[in-house]
Point group: C2
């Protein structure tokens, strides 16, 4: 298996640190850290996430969106472990002399997202710098059924997405490379963390992870952690949000490229054992939630998908490393995706992905 | 009472947010957020703090110190509420192409500080930007005696410092204005959070706050929150760390200016009722800890101190706002302190500070 640059960095940064027996998850094993408190039956879910590159790259410009995303990137990690949201700590690095209107919209975005997620403001820290940066730490609790982690799926489990996919990549493409779609559609990008869905999933799912880095990087990480593969048995076009499908077509890109990340749509990807599939779908329906069944867990490592009518194998590690390798250059990134696609087309699967894992 | 710029900003940023009944403290009332968990007898202490301005201003240059302080600024908040340290989440914004040696020293500083404080690494987030920034969130627990807050002291309570004062200001003066001390001493600045002391203080203290922003800003905040004043009944020179006293003398500054902040020494300031004073000092002695008794809580708002042989009243709000008013310009800051000192000298107290509050 190829090394993932990001994982290698995380392991390097964490090397030699003491860990605590109160923590239920190992490094990278879940979207939020899961802490068992002595003298309590509550498991804490804690996560910290910053919005830095998105601001510097111009991906998030409107202050309301910056504020909204500062909360949502963290709330989405709570959703992935099935935690009940409790509160948030903010870490705002503001620029001196930030105008009142910008600051008001920034705080409104944070406040609205907190309300939407049921996260109370617990506290925070404010710093000043020449560069606006936002970070937060979200706190949730898990009682009753154990929390979800990224680990636990088995070959044969069904793979689901919590909603239509591809809006994160589509939004990034329009925003950072507008010349690809002159007069193209403006995408409304305002993801909401799947908190209620995550809590329900604790009864059914064997693994769960949010698509904050895009769908393919998420599948790559789940494959690595579980020693499995995935087979997407519906054409990618059917998994995409209609706006993402339009962007791909207009830009002349393959539909799977809307799943490449690294900017994600903040949906959940999760696995449900076949024997719980019917009960899960029933429960989802009762909550008016329409998850999308996208494939299955396979024994063999690797991702099989149906793009452009062809069943094929995609090099997910190459997709995942690409953005760091091109140092964030969007045109070089798209060129890299096209190269990876050429390789994929040579790797068409005999028998097709529907038979994967059998 | 004059408005504190920082407090006004905090209240503005927090305006309109939902708060949770699970939180024991109000905004600004304690160094760490205190969260009561339903179904548990544990109170959580949570705090987030970033190291941003210190890096940008060149106050922290050595990567080991940057890493060390990233942990200590947070651990010190846990100390102030008397929490038992549990773990930490890191939020590192690294510059692309950071050299290996720098990164290794940065992580060593973080790791050593975590070990020193008994903080396990729980998780974190890494981002890349043109500007190195560090933040963390620390988690602790409080069981048994309730946590300490900044609120609760009464006139007549004794005021203590957990150790000698002034190193934060002295270090900043040497580092940012070296021309004031050509060939002057190099100060070893590596504060350690007073975690054991904080836990012991839960049995004795009525209020507690760390001096992360310097002694005078800390006293100003405690006065405001408690509707009291303070009277420092020992000459300031006797409260200072010897190195801080030397720096003040060599720079031709008044000794009280080493308490002005905004860069602090990360000691605790706390109050103990007279009736518990003896038992507290006994317990401290048994732990080989030598706190410094620096004064008393007074009924009347304001800070009385003995500097340069003169009992006088210091305008703590002016001291506290000064650094923001001069936008971080060190020479303008020193000039401002000299102006404030001239006012102080005109405000000598009849009767002296020893009688304050009586």
């Amino acid at each position: 298996m190829d090394t993932i640059i990001e994982n290698a960095l995380i392991e390097r940064l964490a090397a030699g640190f003491t860990r605590t027996p109160h923590q239920l998850n190992e490094l990278r094993e879940s979207d939020a850290e899961l802490i068992y408190l002595p003298g309590s039956r509550v498991v804490l879910a804690l996560t910290t996430d910053a919005v830095v590159e998105e601001i510097e790259a111009g991906l998030y410009e409107e202050p309301y969106l910056i504020g909204w995303m500062t909360v949502m990137v963290n709330a989405s990690d709570l959703a992935a472990v099935g935690a009940e949201p409790l509160g948030i700590l903010l870490n705002q690095t503001l620029t001196p002399g930030l105008d009142d209107e910008f600051l008001a919209a920034l705080q409104a975005g944070i406040r609205d997202a907190c309300r939407h997620c049921g996260l109370a403001l617990l506290g925070g820290d404010v710093n000043f710098s020449g560069h606006l940066q936002m970070a937060a730490t979200a706190l949730g609790t898990v009682t009753g059924e154990p929390p979800l982690t990224r680990r636990g799926c088995r070959p044969g489990d069904r793979l689901f997405a919590s909603g239509p996919l591809g809006l994160g990549s589509a939004y990034a493409l329009l925003k950072l490379s507008p010349e690809r779609q002159p007069g193209g559609p403006n995408i409304e990008y305002r993801p909401t963390a799947r908190l209620d869905e995550g809590q329900m999933l604790r009864r059914f799912a064997t693994s769960s992870m949010d698509t904050s880095d895009g769908v393919i990087p998420t599948l790559d990480e789940l494959m690595r952690l579980n020693g499995v593969g995935f087979s997407l048995d519906r054409p990618i076009g059917q998994l995409l949000h209609p706006a993402a499908a339009r962007v791909a077509r207009a830009a002349g890109l393959q539909d799977w490229m809307m799943l490449a990340g690294p900017h994600g749509e903040f949906e959940l990807l999760f696995t449900v054992p076949g024997k719980h599939r019917a009960a899960f779908l029933e429960a989802a329906k009762a909550s008016s939630w329409r998850p999308i069944e996208i494939g299955a867990v396979a024994q063999e490592h690797g991702l099989k998908l149906l793009s452009d009518g062809q069943p094929s194998r995609l090099d997910t590690a190459a997709v995942r490393n690409l953005f760091l390798e091109v140092a964030g250059d969007v045109e070089a990134y798209v060129a890299g995706l096209l190269r990876i696609d050429a390789t994929r087309r040579r790797r068409t699967c005999v028998g097709g992905p529907a038979q994967a894992g059998s």
